[in-house]
C-alpha cells in the first residue's frame, strides 16, 4: 500500500515539475536572480568596467543625504506623477470599463480594442503622434493651432520647457494607461451575475450610481486589486516618457526626471552601476509597499 502511494506521489511530483518547471526556471533566472544581483550590487561601487568594490551602506547613505537631484527633483516628480497617473489612470480605466460594459457586445469589443491599443503601441505612437503634436516649431500642430487662433504669439517649446513637460507626460501616460488592468476590470464587471442586479433593484436600489457602489465594486474586488497593482507598476515604470518626449536624459532642468530616468542616468551615463542598483532597490521597496497597501484595502478577506 505504501509503495503504491509513493509511486502515485512520484508521478504527481513529475507532473508538477513538468508543468511548473519552465515557468519556474525562467522566473528564477530573470526575476529572482536579477533582483538578488541588484541587491548585492547596491552595496558595491561598480563602474561597469572594473570589478565591483564592496562599500557597504555608503550608497544608501549617499542617496538620502548627498543626492540633491533625487531629493529635490526626482522624488517629488515621481510622487506627483504617480499620484495623478496612478489613481487617475485607475479610475479612468474603471470608468471607461464600466461604460463599455453598458454597450452591446460587438460595439463593446471594437471600442475595447481601440481603447487598449495605445498601451501596446507606445513607442511608435510616441514619435509619430505626440512629438508632432507638441513640436516646438511654429508649425507643430498645437502651436500652429494656437498661433492661428491667437491664443499665443510665439510658439511654445512644449517638450523643452520645464513648466509644460510634466503636464504633457501625465497626459500621454493617462492616454496609454488602458492596459491589461483595464481589460481585467472590464471582464470583472461583465462577470457580475445579472440576477444580483435584479435582486438588488427589488431590494430598493434606485439608480446606477448605487448599483456601482453596492454591487459591482464589491463583487469584483480581485480584478480591482489586479488593476491597482498594474496601475502602480505601470506608473513607476513609465520613466521612459520624459526622456522619449524631450529627447535627452536628463530632461530639461530635471523637470521630467522620474526614478527610472535617474537610474538610467547613473547607470549608463555616469557609469555608476552600484548606485543605480541602490536606487532601483529603493524603487522596488516603494512599489512593494504600495502594492501591499492596495491589497489590504481591496483584497478579499476570507
Amino acid at each position: 500500500m505504501k509503495q503504491k502511494l509513493s509511486k502515485l506521489h512520484a508521478s504527481k511530483l513529475t507532473t508538477v515539475l513538468v508543468f511548473c518547471g519552465p515557468y519556474f526556471f525562467l522566473f528564477f533566472t530573470f526575476i529572482v536572480l536579477a533582483v538578488f544581483a541588484a541587491v548585492v550590487l547596491s552595496f558595491t561601487d561598480f563602474n561597469s568596467i572594473e570589478f565591483p568594490r564592496f562599500v557597504g551602506l555608503k550608497n544608501y547613505v549617499d542617496l538620502i543625504t548627498q543626492d540633491e537631484v533625487f531629493m529635490q527633483k526626482v522624488l517629488p516628480n515621481t510622487i506627483k506623477f504617480a499620484l495623478i497617473v496612478g489613481p487617475g489612470g485607475y479610475f479612468l480605466s474603471f470608468f471607461l470599463a464600466w461604460m463599455l460594459a453598458q454597450l452591446p457586445h460587438k460595439l463593446r469589443t471594437v471600442l475595447a480594442v481601440i481603447l487598449y491599443s495605445p498601451s501596446m503601441t507606445m513607442g511608435v505612437a510616441m514619435s509619430v503622434v505626440w512629438k508632432a503634436l507638441f513640436s516646438g516649431d511654429p508649425n507643430g500642430y498645437l502651436n500652429h493651432f494656437l498661433l492661428k487662433v491667437g491664443a499665443i504669439s510665439e510658439p511654445i517649446q512644449w517638450l523643452q520647457s520645464p513648466e509644460h513637460l510634466m503636464t504633457i507626460m501625465i497626459i500621454v501616460t493617462l492616454w496609454s494607461s488602458m492596459g491589461v488592468g483595464f481589460l481585467a476590470m472590464l471582464s470583472g464587471i461583465l462577470n457580475v451575475d445579472q440576477e444580483i442586479y435584479e435582486a438588488a433593484y427589488i431590494d430598493g436600489i434606485r439608480n446606477k450610481f448605487q448599483e456601482i457602489f453596492y454591487i459591482t465594486i464589491p463583487l469584483m474586488k480581485p480584478q480591482m486589486l489586479f488593476g491597482a497593482v498594474m496601475a502602480v507598476v505601470n506608473t513607476f515604470q513609465a520613466g521612459g516618457i520624459g526622456v522619449a518626449l524631450s529627447g535627452s536624459n536628463p530632461t530639461p532642468q530635471y523637470a521630467g526626471q522620474l526614478i527610472v530616468n535617474h537610474i538610467e542616468d547613473f547607470g549608463f551615463i555616469r557609469f555608476e552601476m552600484g548606485y543605480a542598483a541602490t536606487v532601483s532597490v529603493v524603487l522596488l521597496l516603494m512599489i512593494n509597499f504600495i502594492s501591499k497597501s492596495a491589497a489590504k484595502i481591496l483584497g478579499s478577506r476570507d
Binding site: 561601487d45 563602474n47 561597469s48 568596467i49 572594473e50 548627498q66 540633491e68 452591446p104 460595439l107 513640436s135 516646438g136 516649431d137 511654429p138 508649425n139 498661433l147 491667437g150 504669439s153 510658439p155 517649446q157 523643452q160 520647457s161 524631450s246 529627447g247 535627452s248 536628463p250 530639461p252 532642468q253 549608463f268 551615463i269 555616469r270 557609469f271
Partner: protein, 1000 residues
Amino acid sequence: MGKYKKYLIPLSVILVVLIFFLARSLLVSNKIEELKDYEGYIKTNNLLEMSYKDYLETYQSEINYGNGSISITPDDYNIDESLRINQNESNGYDMGVVRLNRGNEITFTINTAESGMYELYLDYFYIGNELLPPKIGLLINDEYPFYESRQLSFPVTWAPEVTDTKQGTYQVIHHYQLDRYNNEVQPKSSIVRAWQTSAIYDGSYFYGTPLLFYLEEGENVVKIISRSNDLLIGRVTFGSPKEIPDYKNYKATYAGKERYKGLITIEAEYYTYKSDPSIKLYSDTNPSSTNYHSRIKKLNAIDAYTWNEAGRSVTWEIDVPKDGLYKLGFKYIQYQMIDLPAYRKIEIDGEVPFAELLAYPFQYSTKWKNEVLGNGYEDYYFYLTEGKHEIRLTSVIDPYRPIVETLKSIMTEITDLSLDIKKLTGGKTDAYRDWKITEYIPDIADRLLSWADELDKAYRYGNSLNNTDKLAGELINLRYAEENLRELADDPDKIPNKLTALSEGSTSVSQYLGDLTLRLTKQTMGIEKFYLFTDSKLPKADANIFKKLSENIKQFFYSFKNQYSHYDSKDPDTIEVWVNRSRANIDLLQKMIDEEFTPKTGIKVNLSLMPNADKLILANAAGIQPDVALGVGNNTPYEFAIRNAVVDLRQFAGYEELVANYPPGVLIPYIYADGVYGLPETIDFYLTFYRTDILDKLDIPVPDTWDEVTEILPELQQYGMNYYIPLGSSSSYKGFSITLPFYYQNNAKLYADDGMSTVIDSAEGYRAMKMMTDLFTIYDLPKQIPSFYNHIRYGTLPIGISSSSAYLQLLIAAPEIQGNWDIALYPGLASEDGEVKRYSSVSSSALMMFKSSTKQEKAFEFIKWWLSTDTQSRFAQDLQTMYGKEYMWFSANLKALESLSIDEEHKQIMLEQLEWAIETPNVPGGYYLEREISNAWNAIVFNDKNIRTAIDEAVLSSNREIKRKMTEFEYIVNGVKVKDFLVPTLENIDYWLKERRDDK
C-alpha cells in the same frame, strides 16, 4: 420589423460610407484641360543679361544650318605667355596648347563670312582631379551674350576600373572586383585622360542641346574665362548647328534596308563610360535581372538613384553584327517622378539620329518594364552598320524646363515681395494689428493672381506630358501653391500676418515650389539591360510571383549567414576592429585594408559593423572586446581610460608624427592624466553661414567679430530676421560644444589648475556667461529654432552659425538657394593686439585600443596606417568616386583635408577656422559642470535668474560632484587632495603631443 432593428446601426453606417464615396466621385472632377505648349515664365533681371530663352527668341531667325565652321588654333590666342604648353608636352595633341587655371583668360578674334547662330566646340584635355566637370565663362565683344554664358560646361568622361575584361559577342564583359565573400564590389571610376572635342552646354544642363551663339558678319572678339583648374585647351571651333531630321525623314532615308532578324541583349552593367563618378551600379535582387545570384551580390543594373541630375550620361559600346535596321528596347525602372516621365537624350555615335530622341520619355513605372523606342503608333527602326557603335543616354529636363523656370522666377519674386512687406511692417506679425498693404503695394493682389495663373498653366502643361489620364501626383505641389496664392490674393491686407503661407514655413508657396524644383530636376531612372531586335518577343521584365517568392525566401535564409570574421581571430597576425559607421564606409575600408595594408605588413584585419557604441561596454563586461574600435564618440576613450580599459597611445613609435597633422585642440578630450587614449578620425567644425542674396539686397556686411554681430542686429531685426547661434536651438541642453567657445574666447578657464574645482565664477567666466545670455536677453537672438537649415532656406534667419552637417545639407538639399549662400569664419573677439580670437569647438569621431588586446603593436601599426595622410586622402576620394560627392569625409588629418574635393574657397575657410580649434578637457565630474552651465543658462535666459546667483549655484553643485568623482578615482582620499589632476588646455597641450621615449 423588430427583429431587424439590431441591424439598423451597422446598415446606416455602411450607407453613409457609400454615399460619401459616391458623392466624392461625382462631385470632385478629375478632369483638367491639358496645355500642350508652355513657354514658362521667366523673370527678367535687368541688372544682368537676358536669359538664354530670350536670346534664342531674339535670334531665332538667324539660325542657319549651312554656314560651315571656323576653327581658331592656340597660336592665334591672345593669352598670358606663361600659360602656353608646347606640343611635346601637350599629351598627344597635334600642336601647342594652353593650360588654364581658375581665372585665366583666352581672347581671340574670329572672322565670319555670314552672321548667324553658331555652336561652340572645344578641344580639351582635363588633367585635374575634381569630381565636377570643368566650367568656363564666355564673352562675345566684351559682354556676356546671355546669363547662362557665365557658367558653361563640357563633359568629362569617367570609366569604371575593372579587374579584367572579356570580349563578349556584342559587348565587352567586365569582371568586377570581388570582396572576400565573392560579392561584386562597386568599382571605382577614373577620368579617361584623352583629348576630347565637345560642344558647349549650359552649366546646369537645362538645355539638352549645345548652346548657340550669335556672331555678326565680320570680326568678333571672343573671350573665354576658365572657372576651373588644370584644363588644357586646343582648338576652338564655331560651327553651324546641324539640322536634325524628324523620324519621318530618317525612316525615308533608310527605307529599303534590311531588318535584322534576331535578339541582341546588351547588359547595362558593362557600360563603357559615364559622365559623372556619382553614377553607380546597383545589385538588383529581382530574379529576372541578369546577372543574378541568390546569395552573393552581383552588380547588374545602373542605379536609378544616382542616374538623375540633368546632364548625367552613360555610354555603352556595342558590336553590331550586321548592317541593318534594328529596334531598341530598354528594360528600365522609373519610380521617382510619380505619374510623370523621365527624359533621356539618346545618341548613337555622338549624334542624335532624329528629333524625337532629343528628349525621349520613359514613363513612370514602379517595376522593371520593357520600353521599345517608338512614338505610340510605330516602333522606331535605327540603321546601324556592322562594327562598333556607341549608344549614349543622357538625362535631360528640356520638357520640364518651362515649369522649372517658372518656379524659379516665382520663388525669386516671392522672396522680393516678402522682403518688401517686411520693410513696411517691421517683421513682427502681431495678429491684432491691421495693415493697409494695398496702399503701399497696390498691385499685390494682381501679382499674386498672375503667379497663380502661371502655376495653373504649368500644372496643365505638366499633366500633358504623362501619357495617362491620371493627374500627375508629382505636380500636386503646384495646385497647393496656387490655392495659397489665390487665398492670399482674396484678402491682401491680411498678408503680413500670413507670411507662413507665402514664403516662410513648410506649407508656404516657396517651400512647395522649392521642393518641386528639386524633384523635377532629378530624373531618376535605372536600366538593367537593353535589346536590339526586330520581331523577337522580349523576355519579361519582371519575374513571376512564384519565382520572386522563392528567391525572397532563399535570400531571407542567406541573410543569417555570418558574413564576417573571415580570419580566425586567434591567429596572432589578425586583429579585430569594430567600426561604428555605415556599411559603405566599412566595405571600402575592408577593400583598402585587403589591397594595401595586409600585403604590406602581413597583418590581417577583421572588420565588424558595430551599430551602437554602447556595445563596447557590454562587450567589455563579457570579455569579448575587440583590439581597436573605430568611429566612437570623442568622450568614449576618456570614459574607458579612467576605468583602465584602454591603452595610452603615446607609448608607441610613430605617435608623434601622427599627431603633428592634427589641430592640437582636437586632441584635448582624449587626454587623461599623463596619456592620450584615443585619436580623432573625422572632424566637425562650426562656421558662419549666410544668404548672399538677402544680405546683398539689404546691404548688410558679414560680421567678423561679436561686436560686428550686434551691430547688424538692429537692421536685421527691423525686417523680422535675425542671427542664429547654436545656443538658440530648440534642445534645452546646451552642451560644451556650444558654450565652450564663449569661455575660450574670453580667456576664461573652466577648471582650476589642479583640476579639483571649477573656476567659471572668475571675472572672465562671468563675462563669458554674461555674453552668452545677453545675446538672448538683451539682443533678442532667436531662442527656439529646431532647424537652422530650414530657416536659412526660408530666409527668416539669413545668417547664423552652424556645423559641417549644415554645409552638406545646404550643398545637396537646398536647390532653391543654390548659388545664393556662402560660408565665413566663426565670429571672434578682438584682443588688445588686434588679433581676432575666434576659438570654436571641433567635435570628432575617435578610435581607441583596448588594454585587453594581446596584439597592441600590430594594432598600432593599423592605426598608424589608417590615420596617415595618404590613406585618409585616398579614403575620402574613393568614398566620393564610389558613392557620390555627397559622401564627404572630413578627415581630422589636416593634410588629408586639404585634398578633399570640395569648392576651393570653402575649403580654405574651413582650414583657417580649424586653426582655432578647441575642445573641452575631460575631468572627473566634468559632465556635471556641462549640465550645470546648461541649467544656469536656461535659468538666466528663461527664468530671469541673476547671472551671479546662477553661476554660484552651478559652481557649488559642480564642485561637489567633482569632489565625489575625484574621491572615486583616488585623487582625493578622505577629503584630502593627494595628487593634482592635470587639466589639458591649448597652452600646455604640447606635453601630450610628444611620444613617450622613456620606459613606460
